[in-house]
Assembly symmetry: D2
Homo-oligomer: 299 residues x 4
């Protein structure tokens, strides 16, 4: 099975070797699209998909995501970047040009509950999540077998309030060693320190088991049960230093009723958490998300 | 059109002249269903629909709602009640026996925003909400024409923080005069005093324009916009003295995205508020809701 | 109330007097976006919203919808069209440039069931549907009062299989007289002849009371009930000469269960029909829909 | 992990050793509930959950499902059945009394696509699907490893149109050998003969990859794509001899748009198929489904 996944990834990369993505945001003003699209045309790139948004046509911020096909892209990448930086300067752009064939390297952090991890592995095995899973870090040893059977490096690092500093030092070292781009907290259940978060701005994706901002913090299903809500939800967001307050990427809900006890809510909730996290991670890997203040634009 | 509605109501009442509803809750113990169903059978009543729930089979609270057909019900009503009270005593029941043909009398309180009111009137005109709309009370005069054209008494009572006491006195007098059972706050936007609420325990239905407990209080759409949520919702609940904390009857949501400004959220929200309130009111009119602590059982 | 609507429409038109929309489709090739955005920039137009799609980057069809702000647009409209036609020629474009301030004129066709009509009127009165309702045509006289009270011309034209030719002749004359752009069949229940349909290509919007292609044709709710489906739906589509086979614009569903009889399905269905038709009409009015073969692209 | 599942099942059975389920249907008439609930009370059984439905209070069919707790149930089972058959006779009941602790034995039939199988295994491993998975039968050998690693007997039986008779003979023998109650076709993709179907009336659950009755038969996603639908769905139903026409148990849908190609529809569809089949199987295992004509009542 393992073999299978890597051959899927290789096929994907080969098929998209000329595919690039350009993400831009800058103060809105006339002429941005004209300049960017002329640049791509002049470099022989054909626009495949393009989405844009402006917070306000007058004095607002402009965002665009372009996916393009450009023959010989891998060789021309640095040249393109250098050329584009001239345009970017004129419009005061923040921008990013990436190659679809350079897959992101992700680390998955997990604890005792494995449903979110399993969903990600599933998507990955089915060829629906195009990334390198560089490593899995867990503070319980339950998932070792499943991870190692897929040929993924597995690190069991028991973590608690007490040893947080050492644990994070060890984790940060691993992340550097494996050149990780993105960290997915698949129900990791440990709070990260500002130090750890600052090292990965908008590169840590969490799944919170409630419909935020309802039930921020611990034991959301118990509190949802107490409140007698008729819908429960899950929220995937980028991690910031304000607990459960980072930019929301995706949310979803399911219906519950008076017959559902806390255990039923958890069970129903697991299914929402799985799909919400999987969507958020996929959008992140496809460079579809731009963070703007404490919100996300999802193209 | 007016004529039409009243003829629909009359047809409905005539067709259900033998239809009754029994709501019971009591400490759970064996034999409750046997006793209740034997009682109905002995009185020649056929069970049409029955739903039950127990918070816990051992030491929990038992709830049942039975809809039955009983020839000559209108004449036998008092006798049935008297007989049933004997059973009820043995099981320490709280109970209620009502006739479907005795329509509930409702008062609708409204302010400037008319979408929730319009939805209720619509349901009512279509024959989907079987009630007598006894009167409409508004603190703005915008809905007079639409209400009076339907032959419904309309009271324009300007309300503000300053004159709350007098206003409520006037309102309470009207509610008594019209023998109102149920008050629907169709975006009334004024806070009711404990005095007013206490006079109508679990008989006041509100629509809150958020997915509670997220965004309790004022300006929920603005706050949802600020937070960057990906779903917005509405919640219908019984009014208690804790603002937006009463037992939730129904909730629903719709998807929004980064392109939606506050005005878009309000517009999308109006459509959720309309359907959530309409469902809650319909369930209340059909005696489907039992309040238990701060939650509802909706059969 | 009437006064109110027209003042809302006037405010809307005034606020958007410089707002234009450009819809384009053509064979995909590099340089289209560059050319179009340069054109807009050269004419001092700022892109507010832009969406594009290509059926296939190589040899496919390219679609784009651009909303832009251009000072003095109303005066420059003809000039812009003339200039753009030169670009259009080079790329073999089909295209359309329209002014947001020139509201579409719609005719609503209705029969006995009024829920879909009411929803449209509601959206219109709330300022959520920006159009001129030029006239309402009905083959039953039930909606006269409600229509005329809004100051909208109302035509009662009894229609049946027998008098179809004369009826359509009369209708076509009215549509021409009122310079109607768009016809909305709000549960009109009469089949239109190829002659009538051909006169308004992709300008007639229907609401079908099923989740197409399930239950094409008559009595869909009865057939849904017979089949025992667990969800029912509604579909809004452009009318072509193949019954219920035209390009689908929007669909939605709601959950039903074994307790729901045919009448319940109809009642639940009405609420789906209302919202699905309202969304389809709104998207059409905002020039968001491009028909491609027998499908729609909805931007 | 394997160990884990079996200990979960054992715990479940032990905790519910006194839990029974009674399913009844009969011509509706007064006194049924009274008789059944008196019977349970007389045998010291406490009703935990009860749902009922009547197709028509006059001359209709009555259905009830009761879950009850009865001390010493395992020993008293046969006695209860004998006693109940007397009541059943009087009311002309079809009925079934089952013990929750006697888990159903299921066979899963699968082919090349493994997502539906995986979802079932997942639910089973999480303790959310209480059954014995007696065996897995596949006409491709892809799932052997995953199945055998869970300690489940695996049979690879290549099947095609040509060898259908022998294949089914072999399958029927296995089903008998393993005393299988329920067969789940988790995207098995082979048509079963009337002979096979007749041997398991309403005991074969299929997942069809469309929103039935739309797209009956082969290649539904391709056809959904051709038709340009805006929602795609999946349907779980009992298998009868009419292809895709058996009683529907559960359906669900997800939104798609013009950007989704056939492969996207399949990918989105897989997620709907997974959850719809899992729900249908769970309801079946919990004896929540009664077939009535070509429909299901799901309590």
């Amino acid at each position: 099975m393992n073999q299978d996944i890597y051959s899927k990834l290789t096929t994907f990369k080969e098929a998209r070797k000329n595919r690039g993505r350009l993400l831009v945001n800058c103060p809105d003003q006339p002429g941005i699209v004209a300049a960017v699209s002329k640049f791509l045309f002049d470099h022989n790139a054909n626009i495949i998909e393009s989405s844009q948004y402006s917070t306000n046509p007058v004095g607002g911020t402009f965002f665009i995501r372009i996916e393009f096909e450009c023959p010989g892209l891998q060789a021309k990448k640095e040249e393109l970047k250098q050329e584009f930086s001239k345009i970017a300067e004129g419009f005061k752009m923040e921008w990013q040009l990436s190659l679809v064939s350079e897959l992101k390297k992700i680390a998955i952090f997990v604890s005792k509950e494995l449903h979110a991890l399993r969903e990600l592995l599933w998507e990955w095995q089915s060829g629906d999540m195009m990334a390198e899973i560089a490593l899995v870090v867990s503070n319980h040893d339950d998932s070792r077998e499943i991870i190692e059977s897929l040929g993924i490096p597995y690190y069991y690092i028991p973590a608690s309030r007490e040893n947080r500093a050492e644990v994070e030092a060890q984790q940060l070292k691993l992340l550097e060693e494996y050149e990780v781009d993105t960290i997915v907290l698949a129900r990791y259940m440990q709070i990260l320190t500002p130090n750890f978060v600052a090292a990965h701005p908008f590169r840590i994706i969490n799944i919170h088991h409630s419909f935020l901002p309802a039930f921020v913090g611990a034991r959301p299903y118990d509190r949802a049960y107490q409140r007698g809500v008729k819908l429960i939800g899950a929220t995937s967001h980028y991690v910031t230093n304000d607990l459960d307050e980072g930019p929301i990427i995706e949310q979803d809900i399911m219906r519950v009723d008076h017959r559902d006890g806390v255990e039923d809510l958890k069970k129903i909730g697991r299914s929402i958490e799985r799909s919400v996290l999987a969507r958020a991670v996929r959008w992140h890997l496809e460079d579809r998300i731009i963070v703007h203040g404490n919100k996300t634009i999802v193209f």
